[in-house]
């Protein structure tokens, strides 16, 4: 995957690199969250209900963020505010999944994907904000 090649020129290489990092991390996180929600459902344990919801919220927010970041605010839409919401949603989902990481590999792997996306969002915010 080298999404940076596809992004139109965003003024400097550094910024393009950070946009690409958010897009890649967000779609990866969305996929992990969708799969983790399904694996949690399979466990049949109501203690995981909040985790399933965190997965679904995070997946929806990450998927939207990846697409909006590809347009990088050229529309005037509040894209950096969305990136901030995405970082928070990822942190929230990671915290949920981390509580079950010892017992469920899917939660452990999902938490890691969430933390990677949170970090990518924060690096973009630091650079652009």
């Amino acid at each position: 995957m080298a999404i940076g090649e596809v992004l139109r020129d965003h003024g400097d290489d550094l910024r393009t690199e950070q946009l690409a990092a958010v897009i890649e991390a967000a779609i990866d996180c969305a996929a992990h969250c969708a799969a983790c929600a399904d694996a949690c459902l399979e466990e049949g344990d109501t203690a995981l209900t909040r985790c399933i919801r965190a997965d679904l919220d995070c997946a929806d927010i990450c998927a939207a963020t990846a697409k909006v970041v590809a347009r990088a605010g050229a529309s005037g839409a509040p894209w950096l505010e969305l990136v901030r919401v995405c970082a928070q949603a990822c942190a929230n989902c990671a915290e949920e999944c981390e509580q079950h990481a010892e017992h469920h590999d899917h939660c452990r792997a999902c938490a890691e994907a969430c933390r990677r996306c949170e970090a990518a969002c924060r690096e973009l915010l630091d650079a652009v904000g």
Copy 2:
């Protein structure tokens, strides 16, 4: 459409009503934006490029917001912050579309859908925030 019937109990009727209003307005807005983007593309006028991007950003954010609001923060995710971003994205898209509303019916109708969604989001934020 009576999405309020499907929402689980959120504590009081008023709140459920406002949640349902955001979900309905957001999905309606997402559909209008997707269709307006396509109609703008058909015009073949580069003056509409920013409008197309505003449509696409708004459609993605509204679609995510509708789904996240259906879970209403039960996951701990920053759902009200997302509703705030959604209101801003709708206002931005409405402003773009309003500039072309005189010449393009699709922009006029899309701007109206965006303003309805912006209003529904702000009413929820006023009630819950």
Copy 3:
């Protein structure tokens, strides 16, 4: 909601009407399915696991269908095949939800939204196919 106003001209009024009907029914169905999945989760009953998955599959397929139908095949993409898949996903979700409709209002209302979307898809397929 009058999405037909926003759709670019698709050759005749009838067809535009049927496209608009699918878009409206599909986004309505996606919202019902997202809300029903959340309400089913709240029940804490593992007998609803298959229903939750049907809701989530149907929501994802309907949301994509609404957006693709707004472009109505102008790209060469297999849009009518997607409409056919959407009709099947809606029928499947309706069958699941109907089994729980007596006990859960959210499943009853969701099944109705699924049947409306299935019907709209089949009318478009009959007219265009």
Copy 4:
């Protein structure tokens, strides 16, 4: 990215591997298509209108496919039919982008992502169908 770790057990390692390959390729393709659509818009060339629509259709279909494949038909939804539609949408977008690949790097990279996703879908269909 190692989405295979997060997928619940799907009966045998081979199948899990192929499911994971589709999910990864589909989300990668969706991101490339979203970015390519935006880069094409930036070109301001109406000869790219069909390509932009192919990108948007492919992005929406791939994103839905990734999420539905994570549930792998456990709901009864027509998931393999969706994978087939996804392969066709990817082939269509690749054909469009390949026509512009000589002049636009974003189209070249996007066409490659589409071909990878098409291949992953076909391998899953061959194995499971």
